[in-house]
């Protein structure tokens, strides 16, 4: 599996040489950002067993903060990421503390996190003086990258392609390192039998909170980039629909791995463009895929591939 991932990464690095269409490049860029979101979400959902509906909020809040700091206060993009991620960390620690102190699980956790997420969306929608309400904020600036020959603005499709690919690699590695360490074992214990984990000395509350905050902060990191690529930030970024899209990506790809969500996100980002679909139909398609996957392939695409391997 490790080599397959490496080959996939090399192909992704080489791909722009073969891609001539801007729209294909753009799908790949959105795909990488969606994949980063899905991977960070799976740290909380697939590996800790907590169905967080707060992910879109983390993503959207950070997108707003970076956009406001850069457009209104003329901050540097990279610098603006820091307070944005810190705010997301604080929010996720507050929401997580409330949910985990009250031992909310499964459905209850999902509903309460969804309520917090909706609360933040309504704030962005109605706080006109800061967020410009339902119109959102237009972002014309582009982040720049320092090179030995001076700083260059990330404006071309190719530059964004590599920047978002790098983002995905960073998010993936962070999650992978967490899961491969002793923390990963604690998270597995919490997901599979938290009562047993607790009697073995694992601080269930602390590790749940850690996973929730780490995943949410990574979502915040993705949000910072997203607004700058799309050119605008709007309340829809914090919507339940986006939260459900992420769930669909993870379920389609496979909840038991980190690479599964990447595949799920790429497929679901590309699919509506391959078959022309209106927004309403796209949501219907997501729903249909979700139902199909849960019923027929609960381990997702990755589960299908690996079970084939075992059978062979």
């Amino acid at each position: 599996m490790r080599y397959t991932i490496l080959i996939g990464l090399l192909l992704a690095l080489a791909a722009p040489a073969a891609i001539t269409s801007d729209s294909v490049l753009s799908i790949a860029i959105y795909g990488f950002m969606a994949a980063s979101l899905a991977v960070s979400f799976n740290l909380i959902f697939g590996f800790t067993g907590q169905l967080s509906m707060f992910h879109a909020a983390s993503f959207g809040v950070s997108a707003y903060i970076v956009a406001i700091l850069v457009t209104t206060f003329k901050w540097n993009f990279w610098l603006a990421i820091v307070p944005a991620v810190v705010v997301v960390m604080i929010l996720s620690l507050i929401v997580g503390t409330i949910c985990f102190r009250f031992k909310l699980k499964e459905f209850y956790f999902a509903v309460v996190t969804m309520a917090f997420s909706e609360m933040l969306r309504l704030i962005t929608l109605n706080w006109n003086s800061v967020t410009n309400g339902s119109l959102g904020i237009t972002v014309v600036d582009k982040p720049s990258i320092w090179t030995p020959s001076g700083s260059i603005a990330v404006s071309s499709g190719i530059a964004w392609y590599y920047l978002t690919l790098a983002l995905l690699v960073v998010v993936y590695i962070v999650c992978h390192r967490i899961l491969a360490s002793w923390i990963g074992r604690c998270l597995a214990a919490i997901r599979l039998n938290d009562q047993l984990g607790e009697t073995l000395g694992i601080d269930v509350f602390k590790y749940k909170l850690l996973s929730f905050a780490a995943g949410s902060m990574l979502a915040g990191l993705v949000g910072a980039f997203y607004g700058f690529y799309s050119g605008f930030v709007e309340p829809h970024y914090l919507s339940i629909t986006l939260g459900l899209d992420i769930v669909a990506m993870v379920l389609l790809g496979g909840v038991n791995s980190l690479i599964g969500p990447v595949i799920g996100a790429l497929v679901l980002t590309a699919l509506p463009h391959l078959i022309e679909l209106s927004a309403e139909l796209r949501i219907a398609l997501y729903g249909a895929i979700l139902i199909f996957v849960i019923l027929v392939m609960p381990k997702g695409i990755i589960g299908l591939i690996t079970s084939r391997k075992h059978a062979a």
């Binding site: 390192r177 074992r185 604690c186 599979l192 039998n193 009697t199 073995l200 694992i202």
Partner: protein, 256 residues
């Protein structure tokens, strides 16, 4: 006194499950708690392990009150409990269970230095020590051949032994065993008996509850008999077993 329990009481609404229980455990002892079903044995153990909070009374561990601590804090103090119905992590293999159970050991060894291992993995020496320990414990608990099997494929007795092995790999000072022999066959009980005696020679203090009087009778240095949540007899195991009140509690007054 390692563990000192004073006037421990636990009520659930109108029902008093444990009533005014007082006893102590010295280091290196095997203490048995027995009594018929519903006599408050499991509740007592759950109170010590922090799973339940006492209504009144004190639980002192090395002189400090641990009655208000959460289960993981109690475990960190060195008191680990196994479950009457074997608790497992579904999907995981036997050795993966053991690695999770090493959590406390890693925490004790590394403290906050654990954060550094996020990028380099565990220090090689600690990793080898832990793997050696896991193998030793699996061998002691007769689970070595099933090391890489999924734990859910173990027999009932195997699952119970895995519970003991996981508890032991935490290096507890006091291991609380909740009916380790229930549901086991004759051979498995003999096996368990041998394992627990082995543990005792390793300096572990054990507190075992069971309603199988025979098994506990052979093993425990000292016993406490509970009935309707109260202590009805305490002292040397054979004396407790011969106590009239204990016989009456088990068999009814006619046989006493």
């Amino acid at each position: 006194m390692l563990l000192d329990i004073q006037n421990l009481t636990k009520s659930f609404g109108g029902l008093t499950a444990v009533s005014n229980v007082t006893f102590g455990i010295e280091r290196g002892e095997i203490v048995g708690i027995f009594g018929p079903n519903g006599s408050g044995k499991t509740t007592t153990l759950s109170l010590i392990a922090g799973i339940l909070k006492p209504t009144s009374g004190a639980i002192r561990w090395k002189g400090n009150d641990i009655g208000t601590l959460t289960p993981f804090e109690v475990a960190q103090q060195g008191v680990v409990k196994t479950f009457q119905n074997p608790q497992l992590f579904p999907e995981l293999t036997v050795v993966e269970h053991m690695r999770i159970a090493c959590h406390l050991h890693i925490k004790r060894e590394l403290g906050m230095r654990r954060l550094r291992t996020l990028f380099g993995g565990l220090p090689g020496e600690l990793d080898r020590t832990l793997e050696r320990k896991i193998d030793q414990m699996l061998e002691l608990c007769r689970l070595k051949t099933q090391r890489n099997d999924e734990a859910s494929a173990l027999s009932y007795g195997g699952e119970k032994m895995l519970g003991v092995a996981m508890g032991m790999v935490c290096d507890p000072e006091l291991l609380l065993l909740d009916e380790p022999a229930s549901g086991l066959g004759h051979d498995e009980i003999n096996n368990l008996d041998a394992v627990l005696r082995d543990l005792k020679t390793h300096g572990v203090t054990l507190c075992i509850i069971d309603h199988k009087v025979g098994f506990l009778g052979r093993l425990a240095d000292r016993s406490i008999a509970l009935h309707h949540g109260a202590v009805i007899a305490a002292g040397k195991t054979d004396e407790v077993l011969a106590n009239d009140a204990v016989v009456a509690a088990y068999l009814g007054k006619k046989h006493a």
